[in-house]
């Protein structure tokens, strides 16, 4: 409906008293899109890596996520096996094609692994987050074969690994990581910012966990993702 499009845009211009192809207005818009105006970033979460991680943990726990911290990525299978055992959950786990997960010793930890997107029959899934924001204990996950989006929402228990060094102070820090990876102005199909497990307060304002998404969110923070310590 190009008729509708042109008419709506013309109406807006008329209402604003702006001419079509006004260079000054177009430049203002281009400039704003090319370089975001630096905004106010909260002090909460700013500081050294240890300070950022500490705030991240505090904020994530405040919204009912649970946290474990391990030294090396190779320690995660044992931690996940412990978590599932402690919650009386079967030792099975769905993962995507992320090579960092694929090479881990799952069998040694007694875990049965399924691979690929979820169709809704899995109880437990594991994803590798691209980063986190300390200010609200928020994880950032991106779509793709490595960590399919369905794993973030269909299973009852979602376990997410995040590197300590990938925890930024603020959302802007997370966005900067995305820009580094995908290029300015480009996004993967889906970016999920996740802050705690699913919830609803639609019945009498009572807060209940596990509305449609995961009932539990367990975050495993890895100190040294590739065997070396982050600063």
């Amino acid at each position: 409906m190009s008729g509708a499009r042109d008419q709506i845009l013309a109406n807006i211009r008329r209402s604003l008293g702006a001419a079509e192809n006004n260079k000054v207005r177009q430049q203002a818009v281009d400039a704003r899109i090319t370089a975001a105006k630096p905004g106010i970033e909260p002090a909460r979460g700013q500081g050294s890596l240890e300070q950022r991680v500490a705030v991240f943990v505090e904020q994530a726990q405040a919204v009912s996520a649970t946290i474990a911290r391990v030294e090396n990525i190779s320690d995660t299978p044992a931690e996940i096996a412990r978590y599932l055992r402690d919650h009386n959950l079967p030792p099975s786990l769905r993962i995507g094609a992320d090579s960092r997960l694929g090479k881990l010793q799952w069998q040694g930890a007694g875990l049965e692994i399924a691979r690929g997107p979820s169709t809704g029959t899995d109880l437990n899934a594991l994803s590798y987050a691209v980063g986190g924001a300390a200010e609200t204990g928020t994880l950032a996950l991106v779509s793709g074969p490595d960590n399919p989006t369905t794993l973030n929402f269909l299973p009852d228990n979602h376990i997410v690994i995040v590197d300590a060094a990938a925890i930024a102070a603020t959302y802007e820090g997370v966005l900067a990581r995305l820009k580094d990876r995908f290029g300015k102005g480009n996004m993967p199909r889906a970016v999920n910012l996740v802050t705690g497990p699913s919830r609803s307060a639609d019945i009498e304002q009572k807060l209940l966990l596990g509305a449609h998404g995961p009932r539990r969110l367990h975050i495993v923070i890895v100190n040294a993702a590739d065997g070396t310590h982050a600063q």
Binding site: I8, V29, Y171, V191, I203
Partner: protein, 480 residues
């Protein structure tokens, strides 16, 4: 096709609401929870007030350049493999969506919570096209079963109590054991989760709204707590986003800046559970996600609000803080307002979108206490905008004759200060004498609307102006 309004019957809606004991019980939940939660979240972030200014400025900048940001956003969505459709009004928007659905032979559509889809009457349009629309937000699901509309923009079932939900689930979910226990909210939630899980997986199309559209990247953003919006847009083959034209935001950082004030103002959370950025359909190496991605941009009267005194209203980010803080909303609930948007934001937006002849009662339903403006994350001057509507309504002779005559008489005195002072001090003396025994009056001529429901306190002492004058004189004496 815009959803039907009962706003013209506001006064009888109010009478009904005030006498509805179940509703009054449910409304106590708003009065007693959300205001405190927002206050705690705001106090915990030292930068909150500055962030509100920043959010206001971003929204203003967008509205001043809306045509250009829309064009840029459209271009970016297309580059990412998506489709953009513009709709002048509700009918066009519904036709576009039912058109896409019919072309793909869709039988069921799952829906994330979207107020603009309520505004355009999308569910009814889909139904007429023979397509089942299933609301998946828990609150929306409950009210859809009951054949109701949302009574709040973020807590659609806030007018209901737990026993109402239990009753409805027993009535509708006939395939389940009738002797099952549904005594607590957790069980009700689990039942809805189970039923909707199958619907998500079977749906042909998912429709969501958008909290933001990002011009820089062509992304649409939804902010939810349940995860239903994400299941709605991830599982079906087609994802349709329906959003009003003013939702566009320059870049990702601007969106993040506004997100910081959104949940804090809405529910008092620091951040909603799921903030999802969707950009185009499934990529070549993707193993999940929709194969088609459409955005329907709805004007429905908004482009005509730009450049008027109501432009500020388009800054609104739909957090619901204004209704959460409104004493009128607390008393009558959302349905009394008679259309999609209740509370102070609805009192300004409804006359703009459906006409002051239909929505004119709403801007009058305010005490002008100013709590809405105090709570608004983008600082919309809601009382001022309601006053503009009252003026327009008055100019068009829409209020009843008695009301206009009364105002004209008051206006006559107000323009003659000497006469005004003499008349008010005389009235004061008379009222004070009449109420001298009990300290209040139970009946007053021409003011039965007040005295039928509460007593009128008898004036004590002099008029405000006389007292003010005296105080100024005394202060002058003290200083000299």
């Amino acid at each position: 096709m815009t959803s039907v309004s009962t706003s013209p019957q506001f006064k009888s809606n109010v009478q009904q609401a005030l006498h509805d004991t179940q509703l009054q019980k449910a409304l106590a939940n708003v009065r007693h929870t959300v205001i405190d939660r927002r206050a705690v979240a705001a106090a915990a972030l030292p930068e909150f007030e500055e962030l509100r200014d920043q959010a206001r400025d971003i929204r203003n900048h967008v509205l001043e350049h809306l045509d250009l940001y829309l064009a840029r956003y459209e271009q970016k969505v297309v580059e990412c493999g998506g489709h953009v459709h513009f709709a002048r009004d509700s009918r066009e928007a519904c036709n576009i969506i039912t058109g896409i659905a019919k072309a793909r032979g869709a039988k069921t559509v799952t829906k994330g919570k979207s107020m603009v889809s309520e505004e355009i009457g999308l569910n009814e349009a889909l139904e007429r096209a023979g397509i089942e629309a299933i609301e998946t937000d828990l609150g929306e699901y409950i009210i859809q079963l009951r054949g109701e509309t949302p009574s709040h923009i973020i807590m659609p079932a806030v007018h209901l109590n737990q026993e109402d939900v239990e009753q409805e689930f027993r009535r509708q979910h006939r395939h389940l054991d009738s002797a099952r226990n549904l005594d607590d909210a957790e069980t009700l939630l689990a039942e809805a989760r189970g039923i909707l899980r199958d619907k998500f997986i079977a749906a042909d199309i998912g429709v969501t709204g958008a909290n933001f559209l990002v011009a820089e990247t062509g992304s649409s953003i939804i902010v939810t707590n349940e995860g239903n919006g994400d299941l709605t847009q991830t599982l079906p083959k087609v994802h349709i986003v329906v959003a009003s034209i003013e939702k566009v935001t320059p870049n990702l950082e601007d969106a993040a800046a506004i997100i910081r004030v959104l949940a804090r103002s809405a529910t008092g959370q620091d951040m909603s559970v799921y903030t999802t950025f969707s950009t185009g359909p499934r990529r070549t190496d993707d193993v999940d996600g929709p194969e088609e991605y459409h955005v329907v941009l709805v004007d429905n009267g908004r482009s005509a609000m730009i450049g008027t005194e109501f432009q500020d209203m388009l800054r609104c980010i739909r957090c619901g803080a204004c209704m959460n803080h409104c004493p009128v909303y607390h008393a009558v609930g959302g349905h009394a307002y008679g259309w999609v948007y209740p509370g102070p934001m609805g009192a300004v937006l409804t006359p703009s979108l459906i006409g002051v002849d239909k929505g004119g009662h709403l801007p009058n339903a305010s005490t002008f206490c100013g709590r809405c403006e105090d709570a608004c994350p983008v600082r919309i001057p809601l009382p001022k905008l309601m006053r503009h509507w009252r003026e327009r309504e008055f100019e068009r002779h829409l209020p009843p004759l008695r009301f206009r005559t009364g105002l004209a008489i008051w206006g006559y005195f107000a323009r003659r200060p000497r006469l005004y002072r003499a008349a008010t001090s005389m009235t004061m003396r008379a009222l004070s004498w009449l109420g001298r025994k009990r300290g209040h009056l139970t009946k007053l001529p021409l003011a039965a609307g007040w005295t039928d429901h509460r007593d009128f306190a008898a004036p004590q002492g002099k008029t405000f102006q006389a007292q003010w004058k005296k105080q100024r004189r005394n202060q002058g004496r003290k200083r000299s």
